[in-house]
Homo-oligomer: 337 residues x 2
DNA sequence: CTGAAAGCGCTAACAG
DNA sequence: CTGTTAGCGCTTTCAG
């Protein structure tokens, strides 16, 4: 099928070892023959076989990135950060989307290792799983996730702190009854955010009412549906903290549909600060994650692990979140994006 | 390092061929030994080496997907379609993001082939390139792109028709001076859309004024900047057709900032019908591409090419676009999402 | 500076 | 049903 170094060698009447060396620009090779070989390779349309190379070299210069939902803009922003950083280190990234499906996550973890990627960055679907991390021979860095045994490095936003900031802001904005709409309770980061929210309520002597704490999925539809449920209550909330921006968007829509004025009658705070949250039509109040930066950090840690496969580096990073005040909560200073 | 079939064979005192057969569930193997081998493999944490397998089998069950901008929601939607369809066929997808950088595109094309992916789907950055497709040994299907020589299969929206529909809608909505804000003029699809726009103007006896036809980049900032330019004109447009939804969003923002009422004073039509264009705060009038469907079609064609590597299948698909009327153009029927 | 030989981990004939 | 052998395309000793 495709041209190999042997084909080139035969054509030139030399050994294929020399061809290999020339193509890898080893200094030992005679300059003239080197040039001749490179030229011939180009002429014949030679394409090195990365499989064969990987087999002998024991590395592939490829990384895996496992994320749960590529249509949530949070993850493309992460993906870009990882990819940009990886490229600079000479790595390519195999992006895998699990659709929040744990079986799929496990499958990808397996496949990536079989393809002998040099390392993996993963936002895990769930945190309560024990089977997931069996037989990991490949360096793994978690993103906003924790393994059960806690033996992987990670980069995460301080989710508790973020939840606290969100709820505190709603309280200080004068809302009286603050609900929570989260993603799945099996998600580590979701629960941490909920935790922070409860802490703030307690801190400010607000009651924690489980009746206005709802969890569903990490998407707009779920946000919309759960908001609808909350509004139907006899004693509905006058503000909510959403587990992420995508949920917040659905909630926002529902509130508007109910003809409540935002932010006067109802306040909404999200989490992530994804790009669409910034647009003037929305300007969502939210908790900012420095996504690009976090992605870069995760990659840096992964690089260290790869370069010291024997030594177990301990490198866990917790990033400080930042409250962004938009126009979906009361004390807004409206400003340009 | 990691466990190989030889290790398992040694441990069990049998030949590694038998191990290979058992692990591949070949029916010929004795059931008992088969079970024993599989169990031992699990116990030892065996992970097949896909590189070695690929080397001998000549396929990798991996596909490449090259896109220019993962943060434009159009592409995640495409990516999901490709990935879902690929998974059903037993393939994984290597997602590559070029950031609209042609050198990067070429690099990825090369890398993917070196990794011996079985096929590639690509939205090309530019259409005017001749070097790009050199030495393609790998099946390639283009998405909303054309190769210079036209010798690759593709799936595309009818961009001319889409541009026509957009401009026609603005005309019929009563706007008098309709501009165009596009991405780069080196993009095939962009130019086709512009073409359709001009056709509509001519058809309805509107003048084609190059002074209100601006091109820049395919992002929100560019849309905003170019819109600003247009509004500064002595004789500014009262509507624009944007090359895609992301550009439209930037334009929308700029128009609102200028305190013009949408849709009364100013109309905007985008292209793509990405998810955010549907949200109630925006409800962008736009041209719909059935993205998921198109991705699936591209994958189907690619599958055919892979399965008939010798026979050159000719399979070019042009999809009909659909006008979606939102609330950024006058004759709106406001409706739920 | 160049070649011969071994081997990466696996599958695929070919025997037995 | 199982083992032996060869070979995928490449890099890496080890000689020369």
């Amino acid at each position: 099928m495709s041209v190999t170094i042997k084909d080139i060698a035969k054509k030139l009447g030399i050994s294929y070892t020399t061809v290999s060396r020339a193509l890898n620009r080893k200094p030992q090779v005679n300059e003239e023959t080197m040039e001749k070989i490179i030229e011939e390779a180009k002429k014949m349309g030679y394409q090195p076989n990365a499989l064969a190379r990987g087999l002998v070299k024991k590395y592939t210069k490829t990384l895996g990135l496992i994320i749960p939902d590529i249509t949530n803009p949070y993850f493309p922003e992460i993906a870009r950060g990882v990819e940009d950083a990886a490229r600079k280190e000479g790595y390519n990234v195999l992006l895998c989307n699990t659709n929040w499906d744990q079986a799929q996550e496990e499958a990808y973890l397996k496949i990536l290792q079989e393809k002998r990627v040099d390392g993996i960055i993963m936002k895990a679907v769930l945190d309560n799983d024990e089977n997931l991390f069996h037989h990991m021979n490949t360096p793994l860095v978690l993103l906003n996730s924790r393994s059960h045994e806690g033996n992987y490095n990670y980069v995460e936003i301080d989710n508790v702190r973020g939840g606290f900031l969100a709820a505190e802001h709603l309280i200080q904005s004068g809302y009286k009854r603050i609900g929570f709409i989260g993603g799945t309770t099996r998600s580590y980061s979701n629960n941490q955010r909920m935790e922070g929210y409860k802490l703030a309520l307690k801190r400010y002597h607000y009651p924690v009412d489980e009746g206005i704490i709802l969890n569903g999925e990490f998407n707009t539809k779920s946000g919309y549906d759960l908001m609808k449920k909350l509004l139907k209550l006899k004693n509905p909330p006058d503000a909510i903290f959403a587990g992420n921006d995508v949920i917040a968007l659905g909630a926002l829509y529902c509130v508007q549909e109910a003809k409540l004025n935002i932010p006067e009658d109802f306040g909404v705070v999200g989490f992530d600060h994804v790009d669409f949250a910034k647009i003037p039509q929305i300007q969502l109040s939210t908790i900012k994650q420095p996504k690009y930066y976090m992605a870069k950090q995760a990659l840096d840690i992964l690089m260290k692990e790869i370069k010291n496969k024997d030594i177990k580096v301990n490198n866990k990073m917790v990033i400080e979140p930042q409250l962004i005040i938009g126009k979906t909560t009361k004390n807004t200073d409206i400003k340009a994006v």
